[in-house]
């Protein structure tokens, strides 16, 4: 039975949907080429959503709509994070679109729809809801990547992303259908109980589970389902890359927790083995291939793959602390990724993406402050204390070792040394090399303030990581 109180739980999503539809209409009628009204309304939509998430959060798990949708501490925390990051992303993107004279209202509308998909995915309590959220998210992202329709590389990226994404969705659906066939339920909690009872049919269940993992791995971009990542990152306009690289990872993390932990926890030993392989290979290929890149966006794409490997390690730990560590990691990673792409946007000019390694040469001579912010980002990404990225790695490794996977942890730190090299190279280019050409970097005051805060946050939260850790722990205990 659907009751009125059920609707209340869904208010953040409903609000976002209404706003997104309204903005679509408003955008059609606005004459302003800079689309300020679209941008402002989108920001308001996100702020209202954050507020609703904040006020509706109760700390308890509430299942609504016949157990297909759940609001629990994890969903509230992740939705709030997506909202906050969304505000920052829109701010950076608006800056970029203005610089390129290419402001499209669709960017914000599609972004809002994608975030709606993420929120549905985060709150999914049934496999159908997972699929629903995932498709809304993915379709919006495909369209965003393809938005720059004159660009050959963007079109190629979008095509690749779409074809592979559709294939992955198909795999996921196939897996879901097998799991449904055996257990007769879409509801994740019931699935969990059913599997515990059907201990004899593990082989078939694992068969279905593997397809589900393929879907998750594709969404996260883990090796060997990572092929789309470098092309999409490089081919898409930087504003879209910024979006793709940050918040969807949070949603994909939630998807992994919902499916693997809430639904398939009794099969933990089976998925742990698979994830260990995915994680180690992701870290290896991501870190090693990133060294060979000359394009920063492509380099960051491979770096993402490596970070996803690290993120999986927390899930492999198979404990609530481990899941909390993964959540901490994904929140941290998205913050760092936003900052890094923010710097690229800061450096870009009209018809010049400024995304080659040579373009940041001598940045500390030209702009010491933002070179310093980039330095923080790079050291944080490579996991050097006292920055936040260190604590993310620390937390994951700690839980991994507590669960007895000491050797996996040793492999992980080994690959992060390899990873340190290409982050150091960025610092080297900025601080030790002379600029090749005088590039005038510039941005609006608000962009500068937010970008600075983004970098400084990594230092400040890195010095006091306790609060964020406590948030993640409370979300997953």
């Amino acid at each position: 039975m659907v009751q009125l109180s059920d609707i209340v739980v869904l208010l953040p999503e409903i609000n976002l949907l209404i706003f997104a539809c309204a903005i679509l209409v408003v955008d059609t009628f606005t004459q302003d080429p800079a689309r300020r009204i679209t941008y402002l309304l989108s920001q308001i939509a996100l702020l209202v959503t954050i507020g609703l998430v904040f006020f509706l959060h109760t700390g308890a798990s509430i299942y609504v709509f016949n157990g297909t949708f759940v609001s629990d501490p994890m969903s509230s925390a992740l939705k709030a994070m997506i909202g906050i990051y969304g505000v920052v992303i829109f701010l950076y993107s608006f800056e970029y679109l203005n610089k390129q004279d290419w402001v499209k209202g669709e960017y914000f509308v599609l972004g809002l729809f994608a975030m709606l998909g993420m929120m549905v995915l985060i709150s999914a309590a049934s496999m159908i809801t997972v699929y629903l959220g995932l498709e809304l998210l993915s379709l919006s992202l495909y369209a965003m990547v393809a938005m720059q329709r004159d660009s050959a590389s963007a079109s190629e990226a979008a095509m690749k992303y779409f074809v592979l994404g559709a294939l992955a969705s198909g795999m996921l659906l196939y897996g879901i259908s097998i799991l449904y066939g055996i257990t007769g339920t879409f509801q994740l909690q019931e699935l969990n109980q059913q599997i515990q009872m059907h201990t004899g049919q593990n082989a078939l269940l694992v068969f279905g589970m593997i397809f589900v993992i393929v879907g998750i791995a594709f969404k996260l971009g883990a090796v060997p389902f990572h092929m789309w990542v470098p092309d999409v990152y490089e081919g898409a306009p930087t504003a879209v890359t910024l979006f793709v690289s940050s918040v969807p990872k949070i949603a994909a993390f939630a998807m992994a927790i919902r499916l693997l932990v809430n639904g398939l926890e009794p099969l933990m030993q089976d998925w742990q083995l698979i994830l260990i392989i995915l994680a180690v290979v992701s870290m290896a290929i991501g870190n090693i291939t990133a060294i060979a890149q000359t394009n920063i966006k492509r380099m960051l794409a491979y770096s993402t793959i490596a970070h996803i490997g690290f993120l999986l390690l927390g899930i492999i730990a198979g404990s609530h602390l481990g899941y909390a560590a993964s959540m901490f990691y994904v929140i941290t990673y998205a913050l760092m990724s936003m900052g890094a792409f923010g710097i690229i946007i800061f450096l870009s000019q009209k018809n010049f993406e400024s995304d080659n390694l040579d373009d940041i040469k001598g940045l500390s001579d030209r702009n010491p402050w933002f070179a310093f912010i980039m330095l923080i980002l790079m050291f944080s990404l490579s996991g050097v204390p006292p920055f936040l990225g260190f604590w993310a790695k620390w937390f994951v490794l700690k839980e991994l070792i507590a669960s007895g996977y000491v050797w996996v942890a040793a492999a992980a730190v080994f690959f992060s040394i390899i990873g340190a090299y290409y982050y150091l190279r960025i610092v080297k280019l900025m601080y030790f090399d002379k600029p090749e050409r005088p590039v005038l970097a510039g941005a609006s005051a608000q962009m500068q303030v937010v970008l600075s805060l983004n970098g400084i946050a990594l230092l400040v939260i890195g010095m006091f990581p306790g609060l964020l850790m406590a948030l993640c722990l409370s979300a997953l205990l």
Binding site: P385, W394, L397, A410, F414, L424, F432, F464, P465, G466
Partner: protein, 505 residues
């Protein structure tokens, strides 16, 4: 505690905040930032002297303890404290930084404020390493330290600086991350990151060995021990003078400190098991690297190799104690070896720092580090030649200088373990004298080699002051090392008795 001041926190955060202030002041007023940096480092030095005067040298217990919860969820605390091992090292750090600020006074003309700030921030972080009593706090300082050093070598270094600094960073990072894995494993066993609690944690033999190896990777790279020493000559040669001095005087000591604080007390049985291995590596460093130093053409490289050779003495002194105990049945020989090792660490801090400064003085004038570009410097720089004579002699272990005390103690005590260990270790006296005196002969004595040497100016008052301070330190600890032994005596005694007890479960 006699003082209420949170001295350790001031020693850590004072220089860091001072460094940020210098950074903020920027390069607009050169003189202001020089005096600002000098003032900060002087105040820090004076504060660190308080550690000595207020230190209670009758106990091995941690003193000047500061404690505040940091990350509640995992019982990580901001826990500081010092004992007889940390205090001399902290004073060495503040003293060296003061000299470096002075040494960079007129020499650095590129991004001066960033240079000064980097050294001040580095000073705070290094004090943090020596004062941290929480393993994670220690690790944070230990790693964060790499960032300023990476920038110092990379920005103000020589022509091949980028290769050197990336090698330096990756090498040390490689070692440290495995230490992190070991620390996290220890936490999963002990549920605590408190270093002193980890000292009392019983551990199985296999676990101990693996943990020892993980620690060894971190500390052996830092010291550095043969065969993971190859980053050091590169880093030293390319670093600016100040960077070389800090690297040789303080950073190398962190490896030794790590052995004293982590490896030996946390995994004593593994240390016992692998002590012959460690002794072998130390002797290889002493003898083989001594020969390598002999053939160097670059003065900085020569001193870098001599550092590796001398640090071999430190590791020898730290690990030979087990054999001494096995041979004599008493811990007093082991204590002597360990005290010799620490004495060697402190003394090497002064001597190698002084020698790198000497090379810096010549490099600033002629812009060459090649021995062949010099000759007859004594004719144009007599005061300088006198100072360098003292430091070179101290480096070869002349009695009356601080270099003698540590080496003598280690050789004397290792004789109790085995004649051959003492014999090989003592070869440094010959090798050291050979490469040091030969260097001195080629650079300082003889006829004036070329026009550049002819045009050399002798050291100015500022350089004279720096050299005198170091000369005083070298002679003081050579003639009267008693205060140092007094401070570290109880700590080492306790450590030795702890290390010699098995804690295998």
């Amino acid at each position: 505690m006699p003082t209420e001041l949170p001295i350790l926190s001031l020693l850590i955060w004072g220089p860091i905040l001072g460094g940020i202030w210098v950074l903020y002041a920027g390069d607009r007023q050169v003189l202001t930032i020089k005096y600002l940096a000098f003032g900060v480092s002087l105040i820090t030095f004076v504060l660190s002297i308080l550690l000595y005067t207020d230190f209670d040298s009758t106990t091995y217990r941690m003193q000047f303890i500061e404690f505040a919860p940091w990350i509640d969820a995992f019982s990580i605390n901001y826990h500081l404290g010092v004992d007889g091992i940390s205090v001399p090292l902290i004073i060495l750090t503040t003293f060296t930084t003061l000299l470096i600020i002075l040494a960079g006074w007129e020499v650095i003309d590129y991004r001066l404020s960033q240079y000064m700030a980097a050294f001040l921030i580095l000073e705070g972080l290094m004090n943090g390493v020596f004062a941290a009593q929480d393993a994670i706090l220690f690790y944070v300082f230990w790693e964060a330290m790499l960032i300023p050093m990476f920038l110092i070598i990379g920005i103000w270094g020589g022509p091949n600086r980028i290769y050197a600094t990336i090698k330096f960073f990756l090498y040390t990072f490689l070692g440290s991350v495995f230490m992190l894995v070991a620390l996290l494993y220890l936490y999963s066993e002990a549920n605590s990151f408190n270093i002193l609690e980890l000292h009392d944690l019983p551990l199985g033999a296999t676990a101990q060995t693996l943990i020892f190896i993980a620690f060894l990777l971190a500390f052996a790279v830092k010291i550095p021990m043969w065969p993971v020493h190859t980053w050091l000559p590169d880093a030293h040669v390319e670093a600016p003078t100040g960077g070389s001095v800090i690297l040789a005087a303080i950073m190398l000591k962190m490896g030794g400190y790590g052995f004293l604080r982590f490896s030996l007390p946390i995994v004593p049985d593994a240390s016992l098991l692998l002590d012959k291995f460690m002794i072998a590596l130390s002797l290889i460093a002493i003898v083989y690297i001594g020969f390598v130093a002999l053939v160097q053409q670059d003065m900085k490289k020569l001193i870098a190799y001599s550092s590796i050779s001398h640090m071999g003495f430190v590791t020898l002194g730290l690990f030979v104690g087990f054999s001494i105990y096995a041979a004599t049945g008493s811990g007093s020989g082991s204590q002597m070896a360990m005290e010799g090792a620490i004495m060697q660490m402190i003394s090497h801090g002064f001597i190698s720092g002084a020698l790198f400064l000497c090379v810096g003085v010549m490099y600033d004038r002629i812009h060459s580090r090649q021995i062949s570009d010099y000759g007859g410097v004594v004719n144009t720089m007599p005061h300088f030649a006198a100072f360098m004579m003292l430091f070179v002699m101290a480096n070869s272990g002349l009695p009356g200088t601080s270099g003698f005390v540590g080496e003598f103690l280690v050789i004397l005590s290792s004789y109790q373990a085995s004649f051959w260990i003492a014999f090989l270790a003592a070869s440094i006296l010959i090798l050291g004298a050979a490469y040091n005196l030969w260097l001195y002969k080629r650079v300082i004595f003889g006829d004036v080699a070329n026009e550049k040497v002819q045009g050399l100016q002798d050291i100015n008052n500022r350089e004279f002051l720096i050299m005198s301070l170091l000369a005083i330190a070298v002679l003081l600890f050579g003639l009267w090392p008693a205060p140092l032994f007094e401070i570290m005596g109880p700590t080492i005694e306790h450590l030795v008795s702890h290390v010699l007890q098995s804690k295998v479960i």
